[in-house]
């Protein structure tokens, strides 16, 4: 269970942005809707433990994440939160398989080749294991970034504009993969977007004013 309570943040010199309280139950799938500049990215960063808000508290499965030390928080994020960015951003010097191994070792989990094969197979890109990122198409790369986000079976899966740079066909595919993966891994899913194509798939919506 994830809860956000009386959170507000202010960047240097700009006005305070407050966010209404939000409670996400385990296994739910949420859409975070808002136009560019409405604080979507800010809220996502606060939610993932990347940006400490000026006020308020975020609790993930009973842990108040900003009470953790910097190192503990990094590790907590590695184990419990999977993040998918608008662009895949894989490490270019490492193969697909190594990129996933990296996610396991950074979270201080044992290397598990079986798990990597399992995830890549479920995303239909098992044959690309030994390839380097620059050998893959944009759609394939986005799948790898989903694989990397779910590799450690996180409790929370967050996607930031995962479809906005994809065409209709790929956007639909990525969206269904996201929902399918959050089901398989029993992860709570939050998709932040301004992409209207995505709307209909979700019942729960958090609207940013």
């Amino acid at each position: 269970m994830i809860s956000i309570q009386s959170v507000a943040h202010r960047y240097n010199g700009s006005p305070l942005i407050s966010f209404k309280d939000w409670q996400i139950n385990d296994g739910e799938q949420w859409l975070l809707l808002g136009d560019s500049g409405s604080g979507k990215t800010t809220l996502l960063h606060i939610l993932t433990g990347i940006l400490k808000p000026e006020q308020g508290e975020i609790t993930l499965n009973g842990t108040a994440i900003y009470n953790l030390s910097s190192k503990k928080l990094d590790q907590f994020r590695g184990r419990n939160i999977g993040i998918i960015f608008q662009k895949p951003h894989l490490i270019k010097s490492l193969t697909i398989s190594e990129n996933l191994t990296l996610a396991q070792s950074f979270a201080n989990l044992p290397q598990n080749q079986g798990r990597i094969d399992e995830v890549l197979t479920s995303l239909g890109i098992a044959d690309k294991k030994k390839s380097y990122p620059n050998e893959l198409s944009q759609g394939q790369l986005q799948r790898v970034s989903i694989a990397r986000a779910v590799i450690n079976k996180p409790t929370l899966l967050i996607a930031d504009e995962p479809t906005s740079s994809l065409d209709d066909k790929n956007a639909a595919a990525v969206l269904s993969l996201l929902m399918q993966q959050s089901d398989i891994n029993r992860a709570t899913l939050v998709v932040a977007t301004h992409d209207k194509r995505v709307k209909d798939a979700f019942t729960n919506t958090y609207n940013l004013a």
Binding site: Q75, G78, H89, E98, F106
Partner: protein
């Protein structure tokens, strides 16, 4: 996946700039290695060869030249000194041991040294095969001479006049090899030793003998001894007190001069030292440039990779881990560079030694000195310093800002 592997793979995603950095460091370290090895070896050789010799007495001229010719067998002798005066000096109460040297001939560029048993005890010579020279025209040769001139016990050869070439061969007298010395690790490995009389014999005018002139002949011999000359005397003092008295005594004899190997070696080394210093600064400059280039490389790649590093943070890597990864990149570069540089230094020095003409001061790359360990450490320190600022940046980076920028 360990930080070691991550940093290694990240470096080689840009092979060109990584190679350039490694090359620069290898050059700097290579030059420093050569300097270190060469100066250690030269110094060692200088000290080894003059170790038990307190003073050299020879004809007037340059004292450095006297030392070079009589101890290192490199330069030409300053001239000859009368045997009579040399003998007088040898009997002086200040002298423990005086070793005469008669130079002037060579065989294929190897110097033939006329001397006596004092030379054997002075250098602590040991015979490997055969025996030491006894009779005239018997020769005992150094181990390198045997190897390079392919001489063995029982072989014969003709010496020729001069110290370097083969132009003027003494055909009338033939030396016979009676022994080969065991390796001494000093200049005697490269010498042909015989008695003083043999050298004299080479240069005597051939005169005709007639029956019944025996008495005259003996008289002639006596006269000849009076006029005989040697090249120099190697002196060992009897007591430390001699240092003050003996050189002055020698220099008062008009035709002679004395030179101290310790002093002249120091002077010689200080002359070489100027060149060594210059090269050393040059190498340090290269190392400095290498350090800057490592810094620029890491700094630039960090700018491009700031997103990568931010992603690593979102995957659970701590600030410290990123710091370590960047430092390791610097260390990989300098470690590879230093090791290649050390290897390069040794190989080049071995190559120089191979093509070196002078057998007396041959250099080798097969020797390792503790200084190299410091070079390695210095290389690693350079790597850490060059990567410190980029690593600090990676440590401090605000990942929220970097990720939001996209």
């Amino acid at each position: 996946m360990s930080p070691l592997k991550i940093s290694w793979k990240s470096l080689w995603s840009k092979p060109l700039s990584a190679s350039l950095n490694i090359m620069l460091i290898a050059f700097g370290t290579g030059i420093l290695t050569i300097l270190l090895l060469a100066s250690t070896q030269i110094e060692e050789k200088l000290n080894n060869n003059s170790k038990d010799i307190d003073l050299v007495v020879g004809a007037k001229g340059s004292p450095l030249q006297l030392i070079l010719s009589s101890i290192y067998y490199i330069d030409f002798p300053t001239g000859n000194i009368p045997l009579k005066e040399a003998n007088e000096l040898s009997r002086s109460p200040f002298v423990k041991r005086a070793t005469p040297l008669a130079l002037g001939d060579n065989y294929n560029g190897v110097r033939i040294v006329g001397t006596d048993s004092n030379f054997v005890s002075l250098y602590g010579l040991k015979v490997d095969q055969g025996k030491l020279w006894v009779e005239d025209l018997e020769a005992t040769i150094g181990v390198n001479v045997a190897k390079e001139q392919k001489l063995k016990v029982g072989d014969t050869f003709n010496g020729s006049h001069g110290l370097t070439n083969n132009s003027d061969v003494h055909k009338a007298h033939t030396y016979k090899v009676v022994g080969i010395l065991s390796p001494q690790g000093n200049v005697t490995d490269n010498l042909i030793l015989t008695n003083v009389a043999s050298v004299w014999k080479m240069h005597e005018e051939p005169h005709e003998h007639q029956e019944g002139e025996v008495h005259d002949h003996e008289k002639e011999e006596e006269m000849a001894i009076k006029n005989r000359e040697i090249t120099s005397l190697l002196i060992q003092y009897r007591s430390p007190m001699s240092v003050a008295m003996f050189p002055r005594m020698v220099n008062q004899m008009t035709s002679l001069q004395s030179a101290s190997p310790a002093m002249e070696s120091t002077r010689l080394f200080s002359l070489i030292g100027v060149g060594v210093d210059t090269l050393q600064w040059f190498a340090i400059l290269i190392m400095l440039i290498a350090a800057i280039s490592v810094f620029v490389n890491l700094y630039n790649s960090l700018k491009e990779r700031s997103y990568d590093l931010a992603i690593m943070r979102t995957l659970g890597a701590s600030r410290t881990k990123l710091f370590i990864i960047v430092i390791l990149e610097g260390l990989w570069l300098t470690l590879a560079g230093t090791i290649i540089g050390l290897f390069l230094g040794h190989s080049i020095l071995e190559l120089i030694g191979y093509y070196q003409e002078s057998t007396q001061a041959k250099l080798t790359g097969k020797i390792f000195v503790t200084g190299e360990l410091y070079l390695l450490i210095a290389g690693l320190v350079v790597g850490i310093i060059a990567s410190l600022i980029p690593a600090m940046q990676a440590y401090r980076s605000n990942i929220s800002k970097i990720l939001a920028k996209n």
